[in-house]
Amino acid sequence: MEPITVPVASVPPAGLLEAYPQRGIGGEGGSAGLPAPGIDELRVGGAVRPHWQPLTTALDALGGDELRVRQDDIDRLLDADGASYRSRESDQPQGWALDAIPLVVSSEEWSAVEAGVTQRAVLLDLVLRDLYGERKLLRRGVIPPELVFGHAGFLRPLDGVALPDQSHLFTYGVDLGRDEAGQLTVLADHTQAPSGAGYALENRMVLSRVFPSIYRDAQVHHVAPYFRSLRAGLEKLGSYRSDDPRVVVLSPGPRSETAFEHAYLASYLGYSLVEGDDLVVRGGELFLRSLGQLDRVDVVMRRVDADYCDPLELRPESQLGVPGLVEAVRRGNVVVVNTMGSGVIENPALNGFLDATARALLGQDLLLPVVQSWWCGDASQRAYVLERLDQLVCKPVSRQPVTRTYFGSTMSSADLDRLRSMIEAKPHRWVAQQPLAMSTTPTLTPTGVEARRSLLRTYAVARQGSYSVMPGGLTRVAPDESSPVISNQFGALAKDTWVLASTPQRQTEYWLRSGPAVHPADPSSALSERAAENLFWVGRYVERAEAVARLLRAVHDRRNNLEAHGNEGEEAVASLLRVLTFTTYGWPGFLGVESEQLLASPDSELFSLACDAGRPGSLAYAVDHLLRAAEVVRDQLSNDTWQATGTLERQLHMLSRTSLNRQDVVQGTLGTMLQSLLAFHGLVNESMVRDTGWQFLDAGRRIERAQQLVRLLRAALERQHNDAAESLLLESVLVSAESIITYRRRYRSRAQVETLLDLLVSDESNPRSIRFQVDRLEEALLRLPEAPKPAMAGGRSSVVGIATRIRTARFGELAAPDADGRRDDLVAFLDDLEVQIANLATELSERHFVHLQPRRSLIDEPGQ
């Protein structure tokens, strides 16, 4: 490759990495009872390893300040993609944190890793088949039966369920760390539903954008071919059932830890993201409940732990699975990968027996070294472990909802005694490991480039009888110098993994493929009812949030200009406040018996209507619910949309932390929030295909905008005010309805109720009029698929009814107040419109969003 030449003069006096690794733990003794770290990835002795040379040269040329700028770019890009991780303790998702400096692995070393990981995957696949088949390994004494029969991942209902000629272990993840000598060593296997490959992809996407030339010049292996193999493998599994197999990604839902990754992978691979309730088993086959029709599913890539996948045959309390799924799999009507039951080989105690297994099944020795392990089910190994508890790392053989790992060297003697008695009570459930030294790798921290312990997880996917290994993976570094655990649960930082290629990397496989044209999937059938319903609510909440924000801003503007208008100004403000209570359903508020007091000092009520996310009708509530609904349909929205929701999330957070005396902050945030909501609208209009999902989103927006307008007009025009106050009020209404400019241009004169009604109710060309919403709604309803339930009053005919009412209304008469200054006819007209629109919304929901009834288990009576 072409060397990166750097003019000598531009190198800063102390290069960025020149001092590394004098800071941090590199070279010093271990802290907190941990073993001293092993080698450093970057330097051996004083010298930079050759395969790091191009990167360090490039980074030194960049300089520390620029590196920090790039780190900010990384943070911003991740944020824009909505990349997040949810720890079990926290309710809020945390932003995904990626370090600017990748881990570099040489081409030669990776060849060995690739061969070792492939061999291990092949071996574990054979073990998995045997354990759910003949169980020769147990009968011949190669693997102790306790490790299988006593393991929570061994699922008896799956016994004897075989895939035709496919690998049973479809995807495999393996954690690798370095021993003292620097040899990459297996620390843990992941076979249940390996996570992190999607994050590795996101890391690569972001880093290659932030360092385009460094990335290109470094000749880094692409990771995309891994995902093409994944897709090819899934299609192959489905090809036994269908020429055009339907694959779905089964997720526990948006509250799960790696929800981002589920949606990211589903949309990258082009498959539907589903939850258990989106699926149903009928006649022993699996179907996706898709807007009233049932679409057969051929392959499920599951991210739900197997024991939660079927409440009939597995955990009865699970709400995440599909009853009958195991039976459908048993009959060969659907393939679930990884096979339910694959969790049995995710067992650290197996390591003590895999050498013998490899010799028995493959006639080979294991290529990759494995961390030294002792299984406590064996009396002599247990004795060894109990003597050295304070030096070893202990863990249960089965992964549990929260698996604790016990680092003996960091434990008090009382805690060690407790651990000892736990092991002695159920010894076969425990395994101990030699702590691994692990290597350190340069990591950008607020104080400089420091040495942190790192761990690499890489992946393999079954392909044509063997495995394709991802050239790279997810590298994670410890959150600080002393932490023994490197896990996202405990704040680890991610790194991209650059496996160097010996030749420049070209893309060798493309999306384009030869052969007959593939028919596009029916757009409506790819959409689950849950997704459709959430898109509808995304539309409603984004519109509701906008309406509340606009009205709040109009109130603040009026109040800020009080002096200019004297008493009339006060009256207009009071009217606007009443309108606010009415449109936000915020009774009693400014309309209740004690409203006089509240009108005199409205700050706290205004504050609550903006910031109180627990109050239905408030701005914060609408934005919060918008974000929740959007999270469910993440895979349906474009990547850029996440930038808008990310901003909204931060603004919402800011509102929630603002105090009452900071109205300035509230007002400022109202403005920026409005911008984000408009950005969201724009992205929806410009980036979303006009498919069924978009029609639902748009229908939601139109219904909500029409409703908001009707209520705004109803509350503002109910009774007449004196000319000056009414003029100010009408102006604010037009501002809130984003039609003031048009109105001024068209009518030039002072505001009048009749012309205002013309513009805001019946004008077909004003995108802010009720008529406009009704027309769009009619279009949307025409494009929606046949409703599963027979039409009730008939959605389209009610839209036409509303349009007729508007067309035939006489606004001159409606606008005229009666002798008491009331506009009762107008109120009756608007109330009727509101009821019609509300009925339409209900009807649309009931016809298209068929909810499953609650699910529960049936039990039997005890015998006697």
Binding site: D159, V281, R330, H428, L852, D860
Partner: protein, 289 residues
């Protein structure tokens, strides 16, 4: 040879319609050396849209069924004809082996290990273990130890169907001092495992004999459960702590597993707004021919 005709009817009555229902039964008798099943069928009403029988991990005859038409009542009836051989219950010679020798003889045979490990409902806990300490003594012949354990359970606890549900644990049995067959079977299994003897939970029926001079009432029988201990040869000996005896030709076996959770006669998942389900079970074990 004794012939039985067994009718086991279960009726679920819901207080609101059920739109979807999935079930699995374990109600049909197994084929054994000591038991031949001449006919067995499952009648489900309303008619399921899908129904299939298979053998499970343990070789039990289980049946999967699903209904996707709304219904308020679900009735499952198992009707079987079974012949049971009389020699059942006569203990093989190896039951004379000393308990200590037997425990040492199981080795690492996968089946022995499988049934020795604690399961969710038969946990081989310290209390079950201590309960059996004076029965399962190492220098006592196995058959005698088992005999003592069965009697001790029978004599230590009352029979009380109100004290227990299908989800009761061995701990509940100790707490209430009373239970039903399922609880006694779980305690037996738990205690045997704690003492190194592989044990399983067995589900089936027992022919009841009416009091002298009274006619036998149809439908008054119940499903029953007991325990079985593995012998070093891999053979099993069945023991019924509820009735203080070893199992004989008045017993019919439907299934076995590690504990109740592996062999419930019926289990299911329904989709419904229904909150209450009325459950009626009737069992009839009639001697025929």
């Amino acid at each position: 040879m004794t012939n039985y005709r067994i009718t086991h009817r279960t009726r679920y009555t819901y207080d609101a319609p059920v739109s979807l229902s999935y079930g699995q039964s374990c109600l049909l008798p197994r084929e054994l050396d000591t038991q031949t099943c001449t006919s067995a069928r499952l009648e489900i009403s309303p008619q399921p849209q899908d129904q299939r029988e298979r053998l499970d991990f343990y070789g039990n005859r289980v049946c999967y069924f699903s209904l996707d038409q709304p219904h308020d009542v679900l009735e499952i009836t198992a009707i079987s004809e079974v012949s049971v051989l009389p020699e059942r219950g006569s203990a093989p010679a190896e039951t004379q082996m000393l308990l200590g020798d037997a425990v040492a003889a199981y080795g690492q045979h996968p089946d022995a290990v499988h049934y020795l490990l604690a399961s969710a409902r038969a946990t081989a806990d310290a209390r079950s273990s201590a309960f059996a300490d004076d029965c399962l003594v190492a220098d006592r012949p196995m058959i005698e130890g088992l005999r003592l354990l069965v009697s001790k359970i029978h004599n230590s606890f009352g029979f009380d169907a109100s004290a227990t549900t299908v989800t009761s644990t061995v701990e509940d049995l100790f707490k209430h001092g009373a239970g039903v067959c399922q609880d006694f079977a779980h305690l037996s299994v738990s205690a045997l495992r704690a003492h190194g003897i592989p044990a399983r939970y067995v589900s089936g029926y027992l022919e009841t004999i009416p009091p002298p001079g009274k006619p036998k009432l149809v439908g008054a029988d119940v499903s029953h459960a007991w325990a079985a201990a593995m012998l070093p040869s891999g053979a099993w000996i069945d023991l019924d702590p509820t009735n203080d005896q070893f199992v004989n030709d008045r017993y019919v076996t439907t299934g076995w597993g590690r504990d109740y959770a592996d062999v419930p006669p019926l289990k299911g998942v329904i989709y419904s707004d229904s909150r209450k389900t009325k459950l009626d079970v009737s069992v009839d074990v009639a001697r025929v021919g």
